[in-house]
Symmetry: C2
Subunit: 687 residues, 2 copies
């Protein structure tokens, strides 16, 4: 009966195969199949692209892990070589220096020979791209290999060169995101949807940060703060999803590879939980933030000045133009010679890797108190249980070593940033900040050896907490971000210092943001990339500046009745990308936009059929198939500068036409905006 029913249902609806009919429980199976079908439709409906986000996260995690794995092998080989080579100073020196020199010059030569875009961190360029500028080929997947190989070599040179991974990794991730976006457009459709592509890039940036630090929260927030001035909650959610997939896979791999027992954070700390700090210490945390802010201004200024010096000095610029690997090798030789451990290197803890630097600086014991009465010798090899011994030299004390480390690494980092190879600059800055904080923390632990007495209770001061706050504050000030505070918590797995660290970061940012452009903005300025400045002078008078005061009135309009000869003359004599198309020369009513490239093509196609005696005008070319674009947005002369700036920023625009009563009267682009904004702060001299 059951089967008969099934048969009847089958015959009235879908045809039922024999196998289906005779298998057990045909109804249930059909139900399950329908359910799966429904789930599939729900999950993979058009427009959904969570699987692309997941792919992006997983791919980047795989790459990040594989890169870390390969690099750790190379570093281990270097250590082995240095250890086994014997006691001859010359041999040891050579084995210490040749390795990074070779890696750096190879990295520089290889990546530069494939593509000139691969140098530096890539974040400034991405910032420009996300604000709407098209930088040709910058996100092409072809550059991927160059960047991966170059970055691996840079990182394999280790703490000698003292460069990080974040920036290039964000670039790599965005490259893959752009590639996946193109794949999606091909498979799903939705061509020409620029905002969709941007969504993918934003998620890519978040994944880049998250897969380096295994920190999804700060990955998303840091990439947002660095990349854009506005963002949508929708992008933020997508970023979280992709970043979580990435961070999870990244940490999962190290569990699978038996490096860890379970998924934990990268730099585990053990700060006391019950009373992590005494209330009066808040003052010192804020003071630390202020110190970090001032030092970050000094750093940013020196870095930008030196970068400009290298670009303009005839010797360096010639060297960089003709032989990049040689310059890189020279710089690496200087850096490696200084870090040679039996020489100056022993005073700057140069035998530690960058991860070990952080691990040791976040230590919650006070080194100054531990070495007050005893003076442990410098170990032959870094002791994994007591990494902090690397920071102690009896003749220098802890304070001497930390201060010397700061001074040396300050200029060494600036030198390293000029080497033209793929490298990140966030991690070294983070470590510098940690050292600043540690120095203050150690000083406080000596000044108050019994802790600060508040309310009758004494608690020891934890210098590691200051290192944490210093790292967050200094890196936050240099990059003009606040989410570095969150990053510090995600890296260490403890959030007990939430308020003091956040206050330090805010203090540092307040100073840095009012004095210097951020690291990435500074690079944009030095590299002369296009950018739209903020309106800083928030004066009342700035609200009275309207578009008609600064728009470009000298626009070339093309009217439908313009003779073709004149169109050709206009096209050949100007080189703007878009022309406003107006109804007639007389009325100047804006009706559309003509792209130069398409117009040239149409003119070329048209030209053979020209009959000399026949007067023809633009209308004929348009009728012949030259596409015009509709004007979807137009400014009025009365629009204020603030409104126009807001529009440009929010919608990632680069050019808008200004119409007055329908007539095209001008245009506004970044160039005009920039000029108007600079006039706000430095009013032009009256004529």
């Amino acid at each position: 009966m059951e089967e008969l029913l099934g048969l009847r249902e089958g015959s009235s609806g879908d045809p039922v195969t024999l196998q289906e009919l005779w298998g057990p429980c045909p109804r249930i199976r059909r139900g399950i199949r329908a359910g799966l079908e429904w789930l599939k439709q729900k999950l993979f409906r058009v427009g959904e692209d969570w699987y692309f986000l997941m792919t992006l996260g997983v791919l980047m995690a795989l790459i990040s892990y594989a890169m870390n794995f390969a690099i750790s092998r190379v570093v281990r080989a270097h250590k082995w070589l240095y250890r086994e080579i014997g006691d001859s100073h010359l041999l040891r020196y050579l084995s210490w220096t040749v390795y990074p020199v070779a890696l750096v010059s190879f990295s520089s030569g290889f990546s530069q020979s494939i593509t000139p875009f691969s140098g530096g961190s890539g974040i400034p360029e991405l910032k420009t791209i996300l604000s709407g500028v098209v930088l040709e080929d910058y996100l092409d997947i072809k550059n991927f290999g160059a960047k991966v190989v170059g970055l691996s070599c840079t990182l394999a040179a280790g703490s000698t060169i003292f460069l990080g991974k974040v920036g290039p990794f964000v670039h790599l991730s965005v490259m893959i995101a752009a590639y996946l976006g193109r794949v999606r457009t091909k498979t799903i459709g939705e061509p020409g949807n620029k905002s969709k592509q941007n969504e993918m890039l934003v998620a890519g940036a978040a994944v880049g940060v998250a897969t380096v630090f295994a920190a999804p929260f700060s990955g998303v927030l840091f990439s947002i703060e660095v990349m854009s001035s506005h963002f949508s909650v929708w992008d933020y959610w997508r970023g979280f999803f992709a970043a979580t997939c990435g961070a999870f896979t990244f940490r999962l791999l190290s569990v699978f590879n038996s490096e860890e027992e379970t998924i934990t954070c990268l730099f585990k700390t053990s700060f006391p939980v019950d009373i992590p700090y005494d209330l009066p210490e808040i003052f010192f945390f804020v003071a630390l933030g202020a110190i970090c802010g001032v030092l970050s201004c000094a750093y940013l200024f020196c870095q930008r000045t030196f970068l400009a010096f290298v670009k303009t000095n005839w010797f360096f610029s010639k060297l960089l133009a003709t032989s990049k690997p040689l310059y890189s090798a020279l710089a690496a030789l200087v850096l490696a010679s200084i870090t040679y451990p039996p020489g100056v290197g022993r005073f700057i803890a140069s035998r530690l890797s960058m991860g070990e630097h952080l691990d040791s600086l976040f230590d919650n014991k006070s080194w100054a108190l531990m070495t007050r009465n005893s003076s442990p010798p410098w170990p032959r090899e870094p002791d994994p249980q007591n990494l902090w011994l690397e920071w102690y030299q009896p003749e220098f004390t802890i304070f001497g070593t930390l201060a010397f480390f700061l001074v040396m690494k300050f200029w060494m980092l600036i030198l390293a940033t000029t080497i033209p190879m793929p490298a990140g600059y966030f991690m070294p800055i983070f470590i510098l900040g940690a050292a600043i904080g540690r120095l203050l923390g150690e000083a406080l632990s000596v000044a108050f050896p019994e802790g600060i007495v508040a309310g009758g209770v004494t608690n020891r001061i934890v210098p590691g907490a200051y290192a944490l706050a210093g790292a967050a504050a200094f890196s936050g000030a240099v990059t003009h971000t606040i989410s570095t505070a969150l990053l510090a918590f995600e890296l260490t797995g403890q959030i007990v210092h939430a308020l003091p660290v956040l206050m330090a970061v805010l203090a540092a940012n307040a100073i840095a943001q009012s004095c210097q452009p951020s690291f990435y903005d500074g690079t944009i300025i030095v590299k002369k990339l296009p950018y739209l400045p903020w309106i800083r002078g928030r004066k009342i008078s700035s609200h009275r500046v309207t578009v008609e005061h600064f728009m470009n009135c000298a626009i070339t309009t093309l009217a439908k009745d313009t003779p073709l000869e004149e169109v050709v003359k206009v096209v050949t004599s100007t080189d703007v990308a878009e022309y406003p198309l107006v109804e007639s020369t007389e009325s100047q009513i804006l009706v559309g936009i003509l792209r130069r490239a398409q117009l040239v093509q149409a003119l070329q196609a048209e030209s053979p059929s020209w009959a000399p005696g026949q007067p023809r005008c633009l209308q004929d070319v348009l009728a012949g198939g030259c596409p015009t674009e509709p004007v979807t947005l137009q400014l009025s002369p009365e629009t204020s500068l603030h409104q126009a700036h807001h529009l440009f920023e929010l919608l990632n625009l680069q050019l808008l036409f200004v119409t007055s009563r329908g007539r095209a009267v001008g245009s506004v682009s970044w160039a005009e905006m920039k000029k108007a904004i600079s006039n706000l702060t430095n009013p032009p001299a009256p004529k």
Copy 2:
């Protein structure tokens, strides 16, 4: 000599007073004074308003702390009364129920009598305001008192009524922010700058959340996610500053009041740090997220349905219309009777306050394992050291109590949300989620009493971690936010479960967002507040819909040559807020916007001077001083729906005129957008 030099310098520059001249070190003092002057200029320059933000944070922290303090006294008095009243069941029952009934009916009556806006959480209305709608008087400081008193009474009713503080606190904070914004406009200037005022409101929302939970990070992010669809990094930084000031002051007060020894988090947990969870547990965390997602859909559906039922049912609607306090008292009586501890209340841990609920649910010991062999009796009074005993009844076991708690609180919370008084709904939802997670965690700890064996190492399962994940996932799903995960970490001071909790929240959000509108959006729909829906159906065809397909073509334009009689007719027969002003009736070229209110005023001023025989037109009124507003932004018929939606959302617009070749051809407002968006998913039947 030194003094002489000082004199000479003084005489050439500023005049020097005698006192200055004869005091010690005149130069240094002058230097210090100049430095202070410079600092003052730097800190208090026009346009800076950090001190308003700081004031906002500190004020809200003071209010929050004072409110908590007062409430704790009232609650303590209630507890004392209940304890001391003797063993008569009737007296005890009365003392248990009369208190909340009186408080709730007073709260409802008092706040509703002062202002009808004070009911509910306020977040839906704020969301509407921040999207650009003007809700008259909603942010007026006059309502402040009503909301504060009402909220205090609601909270003093304690866990009987089971309502929270977040929503109304956000509303209070935004009220103060709006007030401070008006003060700033008066003292500094910059009138009419709407975006500046919005900036202040956004910061206010962040402060509201941060001062309730002492959680600056999640305060900022939660308020952003709940309030807006887009936000600027600039607002985010300001939010951080204000929220940090608020959270710091809030915690500082409890240190000053000797409740805490130093600044720590609110619900400290002690999860194991080294191996917080085993890798396979990730599955259970994600499954928990999915369960929370499904339950949140059920909750949202029931809540919305019941709210609509109460509004439409003749009995309830009549009761609510005529006698709100009576309805509130009845509902409170039902809730209080059920929670009477010797009755049903003992099975739903009703003697615990809401904070104790959370504290006990985040406990890292497994209750099920502890009660497997022993059966501790129900204590006479809740034991602060063993709060979890409240969750255990020998005849019910832990699982029975937790499940019963969930089932009862589910409908009790829905009932409580219908009471018209100031109350927040986030905290109860957070606790419900914690209970869901705890139930799963306890079940797992029984199923795997030795922990899950992975790689030869065994670790006990921590049910508290599941409670944490459940709380974050359920509250995240109900409010459609992800930052609840961060809130869970900030509340507990531990971030070791970052990845599993985040994955649970993402899973819960994926389910909830695809099935139900969020709690706040649902309330907006039920309360019929204006809102702009998302474009959900991301179909390819949706990109082909342009403004001309859905714009309102039936607009009434006023031409400069329209006779005044006709203008009057138009003004009296229509009730739009703005009229497009066109050049002439014939050309219809858009030249400006006329506000109805101003036009009416100008017409009234004009009317006495009308001479009947003299034909006058609109031009004369305009020349007479009626102000016109410039058209700063206009759409074209070719603008796509997506672009227009983007513009409306980004710029908080409500109406834009559409021009084609300069001629005003239509208008687009939220009504048209909504219709167009609903047509995307349900295409209209072809005619």
